[in-house]
Amino acid sequence: MTTILKHRLFWPSLILVVMLGVNAFTSQQFVTIQDGHLFGTLIDILRGSAPLILVALGMTLVIATGGIDLSVGSVMAISGAVACLLISDLGNQNSIGSVLLIIGVAILVSLALGLWNGALVAIVGIQPIIATLILMVAGRGVAQLITDGQIINVRSDPYSTLASGFFLTMPVAFLIAAGAVALTVLLTRKTALGLLLESVGGSPTASRLAGIGARRITVMVYVVLGGFAGLAGLIASADIKSADSISAGNLIELDAILAVVIGGTALIGGRFSIIGTVLGAIIIQTLRVTVVAVGIPPEANLLFKSVVVVALCLSQSPDFRAKVFGRFKSRPAVEKVGVPA
């Protein structure tokens, strides 16, 4: 029992279960079957968390190398803008082949943006927070140039499927995120990539002297994150059937970083946990839903969110846990005596 209590992810998991319990209690439909697929609040949470899971996954890898990427929101905006612009030009917006091709193009563009970030960090040697700040700011401008400052609406069923479709009773968006999780776990734990990442994050100098091509690995994780952010951008824009360059993915970098931290990956790099990050992302999404479900006034939303986040972070801190739970342990035999000055 104590080993379960001490597990890093025990408290985050508990908070998630409690919040889901609250939702199960307050919502009329938590999980049911309707129109041949699953339906209800739980399914909404899974569907809605897909973009954040995708971005946070890539962010985990970047943070493991000791880096950070602030530009993910802008990459989402660009990817959505590219896709919607191309789809709106199609003669037949419902052509599955063309839409797939366009999705491919948008992801390629996102990968290229990731390569730009990776090159700035690993080859030019700019600090990650500054390097990605460039694309964070400039990227939104680029997205607006693509859409000519307008919101581009599309009426494409295949495209909407990305966000609102169902496959084998599950939301497509969630399946995409789950696939990305599986891919990332496979990529990092079944190959040596995870070890090399943690090594580079733990000590870049020692890694270089151990013969690890730290540069290539660093570039690679930014490219992977670019791809995931692009995919997230497509899902987000498919959800609203339009490309909104100003608000797409706005501030998602903060939620993604938060998800990584809740999942137990340290911001200084090194050891990382994919499952922890996924849990973190789902918690954040559940929090969003719960706030509405229990009827907390909108102006208190952010406050409520921060209280939960602070509680979560405290529960993860070894020092804090030792202080709180250490009180109940027996004290050492030595009496506390004042130190003479």
Binding site: A192, L195, G202, A206, G213, V337, V339
Partner: protein, 508 residues
Amino acid sequence: MGEQSPVLEMTGIRKVFPGVVALDGVDFRLFPGEVHALMGENGAGKSTLIKTLTGVYEIDGGDIKLGGRPVRISGPLQAQQAGVSTVYQEVNLCTNLSVAENIFIGREPRRFGKIQWGKMRQRAAELLARLDLDLDVSAPLSSFSLAIQQMVAIARAIDVDARVLILDEPTSSLDSAEVEQLFRVMRRLKESGVAILFVSHFLDQIYEISDRLTILRNGRLISEHRIEELSQVQLVEKMIGKELAALEDLEDKAQSNRERAAEAKPVLEAKGLGRAGAIAPYDLTIHEGEVVGLAGLLGSGRTELARLLFGADKADSGEVLVDGKRINLRDPQVAMKHRIAFSSENRRTEGIIGELSVRENIILALQAARGWTRPIPRKKQDEIVDKYIKALQIRPADPERPVRNLSGGNQQKVLLARWLITEPRLLIIDEPTRGIDVGAKAEIQRLVAELSDGGMAVLFVSAELEEVLRLSHKIAVLRDRRLVEELENTADVDADRIMQTIASGATS
């Protein structure tokens, strides 16, 4: 001194870590105005004992009395307030701050909350003058050598009116003149009544400066002696708990292998290899099964020479030939492709990856060479790691423990294991025995001799001449960032002969 009462008295100190009893009923006392050496192998409990005294760890049992009054030291600040100051093995200062800032950090002279910079600089200069140092105290600490940084750390420690000064391996990165300077300072402090706890692996230094010593082994107190009561041999035997005749054989062995090595073919040749500001162009040839030792003072370019051969730094002149073919050594990966291995002198920052496990640290270089797409199967990893934990006697023998929790000597063995599993033809090891105990030192030296017997070429860099003499077939002597002489290690070559070359720079 016997009738004086001790300034520090520790009795029955016990400290337990998960799975390990680090200190088991240890007694330790310290009198005013003495230098007291704390002796023991790595993992004997020296560092732990010091850390209980400086407030890094809380004790699980026992009593600490300072000046006759029981105290409970619960943090570094309390330790300092109680008059216990420490200078750690690896300098714990902020190299980006100025010398004066480093000395007064946390207790800057203030008026109305504003720092009095002038006064701070003036007091820093005065303080350093007491140590015979004349520095620009407003220059950043990083602009000074490691030795000077160490002195600054000591200046900081003594300024807080220390009754007890702990010097944990202060000399491991100092050259002999600097050690003398440090000893002068220590003697002066001693006269003023400060009790000094001194830790060093250099026995000669212990005997030169100490009045008394306490020996620990495996977390237990072995004995306490006045220095004149105990010979060096007796001391070493008490430290490792067995006799070490095995070490003595090594020297003869190196001598007898010398001729065989001379017939072997060269593995690596450096021709006119150099890097401006680091090392002047040099020629060096290393043969199969040959141990080449690098001798020279601190800062003579030993490390710089070695790093060029691994591509850790890029040479700006000359060429490197492996098996007679020129290679472009632009980074460590190229060197590894030609099966050259390099273990850095900076174990903590350029060697181990602290938070990764022993297993992960050991397989790291081999995995890097295979590339990330070809992971070493877990079963194979466990086999390799178990084998090397046994062969090198890595303690604790737990492959999943984070490597930062191991002692220095064991971390060094992990690094050696990392490179040995890549089956190098040339192994470059920079200061593998620095800061580690006599027992582990002997093991590492024996290992180097065995490897070269097996045909591996070794470039062995060490600040300890005896060690270089004992192991090497050939010795390259450096002075002022220049390779000044190459000596065959024949019977008539001894430490004096090398010291002469280092001192005069003569090329015979």
